[in-house]
Amino acid sequence: MSWSSVADFWAMGGYAAYVWGAYGVTLAFMLAEPLLARRRHWRAVAAADSDTDTDTDSDLKEDS
Protein backbone atom coordinates (compact mmCIF):
# COMPACT_ATOMS: atom_id res chain seq x y z
CA MET A 1 0.00 0.00 0.00
CA SER A 2 1.73 3.17 -1.08
CA TRP A 3 0.22 6.32 0.32
CA SER A 4 0.15 9.39 -1.89
CA SER A 5 1.44 11.57 0.91
CA VAL A 6 2.04 11.64 4.64
CA ALA A 7 -1.18 13.61 4.99
CA ASP A 8 -3.04 10.84 3.22
CA PHE A 9 -1.59 8.32 5.62
CA TRP A 10 -2.76 10.27 8.67
CA ALA A 11 -6.15 10.84 7.06
CA MET A 12 -6.78 7.11 6.63
CA GLY A 13 -9.29 7.76 3.87
CA GLY A 14 -11.40 9.92 6.15
CA TYR A 15 -11.44 7.38 8.96
CA ALA A 16 -8.59 8.93 10.92
CA ALA A 17 -10.58 9.40 14.12
CA TYR A 18 -11.63 5.76 14.15
CA VAL A 19 -8.33 4.19 13.18
CA TRP A 20 -6.05 6.36 15.28
CA GLY A 21 -8.59 6.38 18.11
CA ALA A 22 -8.52 2.59 18.22
CA TYR A 23 -4.72 2.40 18.01
CA GLY A 24 -4.40 5.15 20.61
CA VAL A 25 -6.60 3.37 23.13
CA THR A 26 -4.72 0.13 22.60
CA LEU A 27 -1.34 1.78 22.97
CA ALA A 28 -2.47 3.56 26.14
CA PHE A 29 -3.51 0.29 27.76
CA MET A 30 -0.37 -1.54 26.63
CA LEU A 31 1.85 1.17 28.08
CA ALA A 32 -0.06 1.54 31.34
CA GLU A 33 -0.20 -2.16 32.09
CA PRO A 34 3.53 -2.92 32.27
CA LEU A 35 4.11 0.27 34.23
CA LEU A 36 1.51 -0.83 36.76
CA ALA A 37 3.03 -4.30 36.93
CA ARG A 38 6.47 -2.82 37.50
CA ARG A 39 5.13 -0.62 40.27
CA ARG A 40 3.43 -3.59 41.90
CA HIS A 41 6.73 -5.44 41.86
CA TRP A 42 8.63 -2.52 43.38
CA ARG A 43 6.09 -2.20 46.13
CA ALA A 44 6.21 -5.90 46.89
CA VAL A 45 10.00 -5.89 47.12
CA ALA A 46 9.93 -2.79 49.34
CA ALA A 47 7.38 -4.44 51.60
CA ALA A 48 9.39 -7.65 51.82
CA ASP A 49 12.49 -5.63 52.49
CA SER A 50 10.83 -3.71 55.29
CA ASP A 51 10.06 -7.01 56.94
CA THR A 52 13.74 -7.36 57.64
CA ASP A 53 13.98 -4.10 59.54
CA THR A 54 13.62 -4.97 63.16
CA ASP A 55 12.19 -2.51 65.59
CA THR A 56 14.54 -3.57 68.30
CA ASP A 57 17.15 -1.01 67.36
CA SER A 58 16.88 1.40 70.16
CA ASP A 59 18.16 4.82 69.43
CA LEU A 60 18.21 6.75 72.62
CA LYS A 61 20.78 9.21 71.48
CA GLU A 62 18.23 11.95 71.00
CA ASP A 63 20.02 14.68 72.74
CA SER A 64 23.45 15.60 71.96
Binding site: V19, A22, A46
Partner: protein
Protein backbone atom coordinates in the same frame (compact mmCIF):
# COMPACT_ATOMS: atom_id res chain seq x y z
CA UNK B 1 21.03 -29.65 40.96
CA UNK B 2 19.55 -31.50 38.02
CA UNK B 3 16.88 -29.86 35.96
CA UNK B 4 13.55 -31.61 36.37
CA UNK B 5 10.04 -30.92 35.18
CA UNK B 6 9.33 -29.34 38.53
CA UNK B 7 12.50 -27.29 38.94
CA UNK B 8 10.77 -24.03 38.16
CA UNK B 9 7.73 -24.70 40.31
CA UNK B 10 9.83 -23.31 43.13
CA UNK B 11 8.88 -19.65 43.50
CA UNK B 12 12.39 -18.22 43.84
CA UNK B 13 13.65 -20.23 40.87
CA UNK B 14 10.76 -19.16 38.72
CA UNK B 15 11.27 -15.59 39.91
CA UNK B 16 14.82 -15.65 38.59
CA UNK B 17 13.89 -17.37 35.34
CA UNK B 18 11.02 -14.99 34.61
CA UNK B 19 13.28 -12.04 35.33
CA UNK B 20 15.81 -13.25 32.82
CA UNK B 21 13.18 -13.84 30.13
CA UNK B 22 11.29 -10.55 30.40
CA UNK B 23 13.69 -8.41 28.31
CA UNK B 24 13.70 -10.99 25.51
CA UNK B 25 9.91 -11.02 25.48
CA UNK B 26 9.86 -7.24 25.19
CA UNK B 27 12.39 -7.33 22.37
CA UNK B 28 10.29 -9.90 20.52
CA UNK B 29 7.12 -7.90 21.11
CA UNK B 30 8.66 -4.72 19.72
CA UNK B 31 10.17 -6.41 16.66
CA UNK B 32 6.98 -8.27 15.84
CA UNK B 33 4.89 -5.13 16.33
CA UNK B 34 7.17 -3.18 14.03
CA UNK B 35 6.97 -5.86 11.37
CA UNK B 36 3.23 -6.36 11.75
CA UNK B 37 2.31 -2.69 11.62
CA UNK B 38 4.64 -1.96 8.74
CA UNK B 39 3.04 -4.79 6.78
CA UNK B 40 -0.43 -3.74 7.86
CA UNK B 41 -0.11 -0.08 6.98
CA UNK B 42 2.39 0.00 4.11
CA UNK B 43 1.95 -3.29 2.29
CA UNK B 44 -1.59 -4.52 2.87
CA UNK B 45 -3.97 -2.96 0.35
CA UNK B 46 -7.13 -0.98 0.97
CA UNK B 47 -10.25 -3.01 1.61
CA UNK B 48 -12.75 -3.08 -1.25
CA UNK B 49 -15.81 -2.70 1.00
CA UNK B 50 -14.67 -0.83 4.08
CA UNK B 51 -11.85 1.36 2.86
CA UNK B 52 -9.07 2.17 5.28
CA UNK B 53 -11.03 1.65 8.50
CA UNK B 54 -10.53 -2.11 8.25
CA UNK B 55 -6.95 -1.59 9.46
CA UNK B 56 -8.32 -1.71 13.00
CA UNK B 57 -8.28 -5.45 12.39
CA UNK B 58 -4.55 -5.56 13.14
CA UNK B 59 -5.20 -4.80 16.81
CA UNK B 60 -8.81 -5.87 17.26
CA UNK B 61 -8.44 -9.53 16.25
CA UNK B 62 -5.11 -10.12 18.06
CA UNK B 63 -6.57 -8.60 21.23
CA UNK B 64 -9.68 -10.76 20.99
CA UNK B 65 -7.64 -13.91 20.39
CA UNK B 66 -5.36 -13.07 23.30
CA UNK B 67 -8.33 -12.46 25.60
CA UNK B 68 -9.66 -15.91 24.79
CA UNK B 69 -6.33 -17.74 24.93
CA UNK B 70 -5.25 -16.08 28.16
CA UNK B 71 -8.50 -17.10 29.81
CA UNK B 72 -7.75 -20.75 29.01
CA UNK B 73 -4.17 -20.26 30.24
CA UNK B 74 -5.46 -18.74 33.46
CA UNK B 75 -7.98 -21.54 33.98
CA UNK B 76 -5.33 -24.16 33.24
CA UNK B 77 -2.83 -22.88 35.79
CA UNK B 78 -5.57 -22.30 38.35
CA UNK B 79 -6.65 -25.90 37.87
CA UNK B 80 -3.07 -27.16 38.20
CA UNK B 81 -2.65 -25.07 41.35
CA UNK B 82 -5.79 -26.60 42.79
CA UNK B 83 -5.24 -30.20 41.70
CA UNK B 84 -1.57 -30.43 42.67
CA UNK B 85 -1.64 -27.92 45.50
CA UNK B 86 0.98 -26.01 43.55
CA UNK B 87 1.22 -22.48 44.90
CA UNK B 88 3.15 -21.03 42.02
CA UNK B 89 0.62 -22.24 39.46
CA UNK B 90 -2.10 -20.34 41.30
CA UNK B 91 0.13 -17.28 41.43
CA UNK B 92 0.59 -17.44 37.68
CA UNK B 93 -3.17 -17.62 37.21
CA UNK B 94 -3.56 -14.45 39.28
CA UNK B 95 -0.88 -12.76 37.21
CA UNK B 96 -2.57 -13.65 33.92
CA UNK B 97 -5.99 -12.28 34.84
CA UNK B 98 -5.40 -8.52 34.51
CA UNK B 99 -3.68 -8.91 31.14
CA UNK B 100 -6.53 -11.05 29.86
CA UNK B 101 -9.04 -8.51 31.11
CA UNK B 102 -7.10 -5.73 29.39
CA UNK B 103 -7.16 -7.53 26.05
CA UNK B 104 -10.88 -8.26 26.41
CA UNK B 105 -11.51 -4.59 27.05
CA UNK B 106 -9.33 -3.56 24.11
CA UNK B 107 -11.13 -6.03 21.85
CA UNK B 108 -14.51 -4.63 22.89
CA UNK B 109 -13.40 -1.02 22.64
CA UNK B 110 -11.65 -1.29 19.27
CA UNK B 111 -14.56 -3.38 18.06
CA UNK B 112 -16.98 -0.63 19.03
CA UNK B 113 -14.85 1.97 17.26
CA UNK B 114 -14.79 -0.26 14.17
CA UNK B 115 -18.50 -0.97 14.38
CA UNK B 116 -19.62 2.64 14.37
CA UNK B 117 -18.61 3.51 10.79
CA UNK B 118 -19.21 0.03 9.37
CA UNK B 119 -22.34 -1.19 11.15
CA UNK B 120 -23.69 2.19 12.14
CA UNK B 121 -23.61 1.34 15.81
CA UNK B 122 -21.11 1.23 18.66
CA UNK B 123 -22.75 -1.82 20.21
CA UNK B 124 -25.26 -4.54 19.60
CA UNK B 125 -26.27 -7.41 21.84
CA UNK B 126 -25.30 -10.10 19.40
CA UNK B 127 -23.84 -13.41 20.52
CA UNK B 128 -20.17 -12.65 19.96
CA UNK B 129 -20.14 -9.20 21.52
CA UNK B 130 -22.24 -10.31 24.47
CA UNK B 131 -20.14 -13.40 25.18
CA UNK B 132 -16.95 -11.33 24.95
CA UNK B 133 -18.41 -8.88 27.44
CA UNK B 134 -19.13 -11.85 29.70
CA UNK B 135 -15.49 -12.88 29.27
CA UNK B 136 -14.45 -9.48 30.61
CA UNK B 137 -16.83 -9.88 33.56
CA UNK B 138 -15.39 -13.33 34.28
CA UNK B 139 -11.87 -11.89 34.38
CA UNK B 140 -12.93 -9.08 36.67
CA UNK B 141 -14.88 -11.54 38.81
CA UNK B 142 -11.83 -13.78 39.16
CA UNK B 143 -9.65 -10.85 40.21
CA UNK B 144 -12.24 -9.59 42.70
CA UNK B 145 -12.82 -13.06 44.12
CA UNK B 146 -9.18 -13.93 44.80
CA UNK B 147 -8.57 -10.50 46.29
CA UNK B 148 -11.63 -10.77 48.53
CA UNK B 149 -10.67 -13.97 50.32
CA UNK B 150 -8.04 -13.52 52.99
CA UNK B 151 -6.54 -16.98 53.13
CA UNK B 152 -4.42 -17.21 49.98
CA UNK B 153 -4.87 -20.90 49.30
CA UNK B 154 -8.64 -20.76 49.82
CA UNK B 155 -8.70 -17.78 47.51
CA UNK B 156 -6.69 -19.75 44.95
CA UNK B 157 -9.16 -22.64 45.07
CA UNK B 158 -12.23 -20.42 44.83
CA UNK B 159 -10.69 -18.57 41.91
CA UNK B 160 -9.83 -21.85 40.22
CA UNK B 161 -13.44 -22.97 40.42
CA UNK B 162 -14.65 -19.74 38.86
CA UNK B 163 -11.99 -19.87 36.16
CA UNK B 164 -12.74 -23.47 35.25
CA UNK B 165 -16.51 -23.03 35.17
CA UNK B 166 -16.17 -19.86 33.12
CA UNK B 167 -13.95 -21.57 30.55
CA UNK B 168 -17.05 -22.84 28.75
CA UNK B 169 -17.54 -19.24 27.58
CA UNK B 170 -14.47 -19.39 25.35
CA UNK B 171 -15.81 -21.96 22.85
CA UNK B 172 -19.12 -20.11 23.02
CA UNK B 173 -17.38 -16.96 21.83
CA UNK B 174 -15.56 -18.91 19.14
CA UNK B 175 -18.62 -20.69 17.75
CA UNK B 176 -21.07 -17.85 18.36
CA UNK B 177 -20.89 -16.63 14.77
CA UNK B 178 -21.86 -20.12 13.54
CA UNK B 179 -24.47 -20.99 16.14
CA UNK B 180 -26.37 -17.71 16.12
CA UNK B 181 -27.40 -15.11 13.62
CA UNK B 182 -24.88 -12.42 14.50
CA UNK B 183 -24.06 -8.97 13.25
CA UNK B 184 -20.39 -9.74 13.89
CA UNK B 185 -18.95 -11.29 10.77
CA UNK B 186 -18.25 -14.98 10.54
CA UNK B 187 -14.88 -16.64 10.52
CA UNK B 188 -12.56 -15.50 7.76
CA UNK B 189 -9.91 -17.95 8.82
CA UNK B 190 -10.30 -21.59 9.66
CA UNK B 191 -7.86 -24.31 10.56
CA UNK B 192 -9.12 -26.60 7.80
CA UNK B 193 -10.31 -24.24 5.12
CA UNK B 194 -7.54 -21.68 4.91
CA UNK B 195 -8.36 -18.03 4.67
CA UNK B 196 -10.57 -15.71 2.73
CA UNK B 197 -8.42 -12.68 3.48
CA UNK B 198 -5.76 -11.11 1.32
CA UNK B 199 -2.51 -12.80 2.27
CA UNK B 200 -0.71 -9.59 3.28
CA UNK B 201 -3.59 -8.71 5.60
CA UNK B 202 -3.50 -12.17 7.11
CA UNK B 203 0.26 -12.12 7.61
CA UNK B 204 0.12 -8.72 9.27
CA UNK B 205 -2.64 -9.92 11.57
CA UNK B 206 -0.69 -13.05 12.51
CA UNK B 207 2.46 -11.03 13.19
CA UNK B 208 0.47 -8.72 15.47
CA UNK B 209 -0.98 -11.75 17.24
CA UNK B 210 2.52 -13.05 17.91
CA UNK B 211 3.51 -9.56 19.06
CA UNK B 212 0.62 -9.50 21.53
CA UNK B 213 1.65 -12.98 22.68
CA UNK B 214 5.19 -11.80 23.38
CA UNK B 215 3.83 -8.73 25.16
CA UNK B 216 1.58 -10.97 27.27
CA UNK B 217 4.52 -13.15 28.27
CA UNK B 218 6.52 -10.08 29.26
CA UNK B 219 3.79 -8.50 31.37
CA UNK B 220 2.60 -11.76 32.93
CA UNK B 221 6.17 -12.66 33.90
CA UNK B 222 6.61 -9.20 35.42
CA UNK B 223 3.37 -9.49 37.37
CA UNK B 224 4.08 -13.07 38.46
CA UNK B 225 7.32 -11.84 39.97
CA UNK B 226 5.35 -9.23 41.91
CA UNK B 227 2.80 -11.80 43.09
CA UNK B 228 5.56 -14.21 44.13
CA UNK B 229 7.21 -11.56 46.29
CA UNK B 230 3.85 -10.57 47.78
CA UNK B 231 3.03 -14.16 48.67
CA UNK B 232 6.50 -15.23 49.76
CA UNK B 233 7.13 -12.13 51.79
CA UNK B 234 8.28 -13.91 54.90
CA UNK B 235 10.79 -16.09 53.12
CA UNK B 236 14.45 -15.33 53.52
CA UNK B 237 15.11 -15.13 49.80
CA UNK B 238 12.36 -12.52 49.38
CA UNK B 239 13.74 -10.34 52.12
CA UNK B 240 17.13 -10.36 50.45
CA UNK B 241 15.87 -9.03 47.14
CA UNK B 242 16.60 -5.37 47.65
CA UNK B 243 20.17 -6.18 48.56
CA UNK B 244 20.71 -7.76 45.17
CA UNK B 245 19.02 -4.95 43.25
CA UNK B 246 16.51 -7.40 41.83
CA UNK B 247 13.77 -4.88 41.29
CA UNK B 248 13.50 -4.90 37.53
Amino acid sequence: MPLTFFTFSSPPKFYALAGALVPWCWAAALLLTGAGLWLGFFVAPIDATQGEVYRIIFIHVPAAWMAMVLYLVMAFWAAVGWAFNARLASMVARAVAPTGAMFALVALWTGAIWGKPTWGTWWVWDARLTSTLILLFLYLGFIALVEAIDDPRRADRAGALLAIVGAVNVPIIYFSVQWWNTLHQGASISVSGGSRMASTMLTAMLLMTLAFWAYAFAVVFMRTRAVVVERERGAAWAMELNRGGATR
